[in-house]
Amino acid sequence: MIDKLQPSPAAALADVPDGATVMIGGFGEAGLPQELVSALLDQGARELTVVNNNAGNGDRGLAALIAAGRVRKIICSFPRQADSHHFDRAYRAGQIELELVPQGNLAERIRAAGAGIGAFYTPTSFGTELAHGKEQRQIGGRGHVLEYALHADYALIQAERGDRWGNLVYRKTARNFGPVMATAARITVAAVREVVALGALDPEAVVTPGIFVQRLVCCPRPAATTEARS
């Protein structure tokens, strides 16, 4: 019987080695798998390369991982935010490397990796300093820049419901990077708010087919989340 359900976030992340490239879903805190990131912090892997849209908010989640000095390099589009103080400090101290990527290139490089595409040309960033040192060519009379696929060892994503085959559905804008990151990692770990029986998800509405998910963890929604935000 195929059963991707793991007993805990810790069990799902026990084999993450030092130096791993880890994609972490989420846009700000929407879709950020807090329980998985906390488990990664407890697990102890160091020298990580992290792929996320941002570089941590406040003091928990990705920010806590950066504060603990566990991230060697971050690949993201929007590191600077009002509450990104842990990243700001580490960056200014030269303790973390930043690869700044336009958000659409970030999403498309991840998608390309998942789809077996080695690289692609895009007009995004043509004529800007983010194109320096990259191959460029004219296509259809327009300048394009070569961007390579972005693979990961692990992807940690948040979904709403999943079944034991790893089929997933998401919730509202928390979907964001989850479906593309799931395709681009050797091992995708999905935290879901609820595990449902095989067949309970409408097959027409499955967003991430289970083939892209290797491990599933049930992390019920914390009761305080909504209150804390309002």
Binding site: P79, D88, Q103, G104, F126, L130, P179, T226
Partner: protein, 213 residues
């Protein structure tokens, strides 16, 4: 000074009036978000947000805020009937693939040929952040800029050539400032509207560039 600069709300209303019925629009972070509340009633306009939503509605009351339903500025929003969600690669395909009719962006500088600088001051100690600005600027059918006409030090933000790092070259078609609305055309900048009391010559002098009436 005898003129009366437009307020931010008035600027937003000027942008909103130029968004036609049926348009799909992305409003950038900051000043452009004010446009949403100025859209003329009776026009059906679909708002896109790059984190993965089409058909975005107004902010919810504080009781109804949902941390899973936010816009690109990470503020709580609502979904209108007919709205939908999608993942980031689809969302950026909408932007990069030329499917959005208009994007409205803030800016540090815009050049007379429509070059846009809005992501980085280039200062040595600044932490750069680009987000989706480069994708919107190259991808939307039209890029509007909404910004103050003058910097805090009184320099024109409309320039012959951008001194800040570019977001994209020759992408802006229209500029809305607190002093004027300008079209960027092959022949140069053309003034479409001026704030009350501002003479054409005064606007040219403040901008430091020749402008067509």
């Amino acid at each position: 000074m005898s003129w009366q600069a437009w307020t931010r709300t008035q600027m937003a209303a000027l942008v909103a009036q130029d968004i036609p019925e049926g348009a799909v629009v992305n409003l950038g972070i900051g000043l452009p978000t004010l446009v949403a509340s100025q859209l003329p009633p009776g026009r059906e306009i679909i708002l896109h947000s790059e984190n993965g939503v089409l058909g975005m509605g107004p902010p919810p009351g504080p009781e109804a805020a949902d941390p899973d339903l936010i816009n690109a500025g990470k503020q709580a929003v609502t979904l209108l009937p007919g709205g939908c969600f999608f993942h980031h690669a689809d969302s950026f395909a909408m932007m990069r693939g030329g499917h959005l009719d208009i994007c409205v962006l803030g800016a540090f500088q815009v050049s007379t040929r429509g070059d846009l600088a809005n992501w980085h001051t280039g200062a040595a100690d600044a932490i750069p952040a680009v987000g989706g600005a480069m994708d919107l600027a190259i991808g939307a059918k039209q890029t509007f800029v909404m910004m103050e006409h003058l910097s805090k030090s009184g320099d024109s933000k409309i320039v012959a050539a951008c001194s800040y790092p570019l977001t994209a070259a020759a992408c802006v078609s229209r500029i809305y400032t607190d002093l004027a609305v300008l079209a960027i055309e092959a022949a140069g900048l053309r003034v479409l509207a001026r704030c009350p009391g501002l003479e054409h010559r005064q606007l040219e002098s403040l901008t430091g560039l020749p402008l067509r009436a």
